[in-house]
């Protein structure tokens, strides 16, 4: 039998006044693995039964039907399994406490810095779900997860969620995934539509250190961009182009160009459409397009196509979060200085004439990032200090 205990929970129990408490045993049925906890887990797993935690070996008779027993005496821990009226003692291992959980990353990432950082992830689709999990693996300590959607079949192939998650709110499913990597992370869940809940969005943005903007349409990005500007928070936007030919990442740093400046400077991109229902709702697929034509418009890249974009967003987030702190990722501060990054994925459409990788030399090729500085746009509808320069349609007069 493989037995796991939580160091953090045992430490808390040791200084608690209670002599004993009834906890929980989560047993992977038929796999010979059990995790013993003093408190119930937010997202349970396996077969659940009772587990008695006690500071003396004498009070165990009280609870007859409890199979698992944990004794803590003067720093000595013993785990017992009730068998045929007797107790059989078994070996166990510890889930490390907070500061030691990801100690292997020490030197590469400054865990203590990230532990105190709070990141909001707006949109928990194929981008947001992956990024949430990556950031929790890196040791980010607090998350605000925002998405009003539920896990549906159409996009499951490149989402981190499983078939068993169908129907669940994405905020709940991703909370489970994040806690699965870092049980000490603090999670705040907001199953709401940011375009219709501006006040809530402003509250969320005002409390975090960085925002991952992983929604799939421009209206919501404009809404986000306004909140980032109002509260002077760093935001990282990412998206894939149609047919997975590539994608781009935009970083908003207070004082620099905002998302709206970016759209004003480089125009509106042809984005991939991954979900007909949401694309219809926000007008990306006009209402008059037939079901058949809409079906042809929904062309989803592979998980492998969006992975590099998510990865870049994660790295940028880690660099921004650790800025000014000595950490192994500081070296990237000199590299990731741009606010716009273009990823060329396939030699199709706008990248058709790019060079094939072999023998391309300095010529542009796919599978590469291209960085650029995008400057602030005069009269920007969001970040301009002066008067807003509106598009009044000169070409129409």
């Amino acid at each position: 039998m493989i037995v796991y205990l939580s160091q953090e929970e045992l430490d808390a129990f040791a200084i608690d006044r209670a002599e004993s408490l009834l906890g929980y045993a989560y047993e992977w049925e038929g796999e010979g693995v059990v995790h013993l906890h003093t408190r119930s887990l937010t997202h349970a797993f396996g077969e659940i039964s009772g587990c008695m935690f006690s500071k003396s070996a004498f009070c165990t008779d009280v609870v007859e039907d409890v199979r698992w027993l944990v004794f803590i005496d003067e720093g000595c821990i013993k785990v017992g399994l009730r068998v045929d009226g007797g107790i059989q003692y078994v070996g166990f291992q510890m889930i490390p406490s907070k500061e030691n959980l990801y100690s292997r990353s020490k030197g590469i990432l400054e865990i203590r810095v990230l532990q105190n950082k709070h990141v909001a992830i707006i949109g928990l689709g194929s981008f947001g779900s992956q990024i949430a999990i990556e950031l929790s693996k890196s040791g980010v300590g607090e998350f605000s997860l925002v998405d009003f959607d539920r896990v549906e079949l159409h996009n499951l192939a490149r989402h981190t969620c499983f078939i068993k998650d169908l129907g669940r709110l994405k905020t709940d499913a991703i909370e489970e995934a994040v806690l699965g990597k870092n049980p000490y992370a603090k999670i705040h869940k907001y199953p709401l539509d940011i375009s219709k809940n501006r006040m809530e969005l402003e509250t969320i943005v005002s409390h975090v250190d960085l925002v991952i903007c992983a929604t799939d349409n421009n209206p919501s990005r404009f809404v986000l961009s306004q909140a980032l500007f109002d509260f002077q928070k760093i935001g990282i936007f990412g998206r894939a182009f149609t047919r997975a030919e590539g994608g781009d990442v935009f970083v908003y740093r207070p004082g620099q160009a905002c998302y709206s400046c970016m759209v004003g400077n480089i125009g509106v991109a042809q984005e991939e459409i991954t979900n007909e229902a949401s694309a219809r709702q926000n007008g990306v697929i006009p209402a008059y397009v037939s079901a058949q034509d809409a079906d042809a418009m929904v062309q989803v890249g592979l998980s492998a196509d969006i992975e590099p974009i998510c990865n870049m967003m994660v790295k940028l987030a880690l660099v921004e979060l650790s800025k000014g702190e000595a950490s192994g990722i500081s070296c990237l501060e000199d590299e990731l200085v741009y606010n716009y990054y273009l990823w060329a994925n396939r030699r199709e459409r706008k990248f058709t004439n790019w060079h094939v990788l072999p023998g391309a030399g300095p010529m542009p090729t796919i599978m590469r990032w291209y960085g650029a500085h995008i400057s602030r746009r005069e009269g920007c509808a969001i970040c301009s200090d002066d008067e807003i320069l509106l598009d009044i349609g000169d070409n129409l007069e």
């Binding site: 809404v223 006009p286 509808a381």
Partner: protein, 142 residues
């Protein structure tokens, strides 16, 4: 919802371009603000437009003609139509499809929206006399 500096900028453009008695901002301090505008076509007909501002300028504002319009075969323009540039009607009012989502940015002014809807009304009247669908005259923007 529009910020105050945006509202001011929109007002300035409208003041400079249009007579002040043909437009009025309504319910601006509520969650359902809108702009009412009168539009006179070259043939001299006057229509009232209602531009809904609750999601403006982040999203394309919905624009309704203040009544149901009918095509040349006397069918109501109440459903999404690619050839007639219309969307679902609401409260018995025809909705104009004036902008494509891929060309929308938050810089687009209400004045420009108004001009595009006026253009639509001209083409609508052209349709009534020629029988040709509106997209015969107006190119799609996506």
């Amino acid at each position: 919802m529009m910020k105050y500096n945006r509202f001011k900028a929109e007002q300035e453009v409208l003041e400079a371009k249009l007579p002040s008695n043909i437009y009025r901002f309504m319910d601006m301090n509520t969650s359902r603000p809108y702009l009412v505008m009168a539009a006179r076509t070259n043939r001299g007909n006057v229509y009232t437009l209602r531009i809904e501002l609750d999601m403006f300028p982040d999203s394309i504002p919905q624009v309704f003609v203040n009544k149901m319009l009918y095509d040349c075969n006397n069918n109501p323009l109440d459903t999404p139509s690619s050839t007639m540039h219309t969307l679902n009607s609401k409260n018995g009012c025809t909705q104009i499809c004036h902008y494509g989502s891929s060309s929308w940015t938050n810089r687009v002014s209400l004045y420009k929206v108004y001009i595009k809807c006026r253009l639509w009304l001209e083409m609508y009247e052209a349709h009534l006399s020629s029988g040709k669908p509106i997209d015969y005259y107006l190119k799609h923007q996506n």
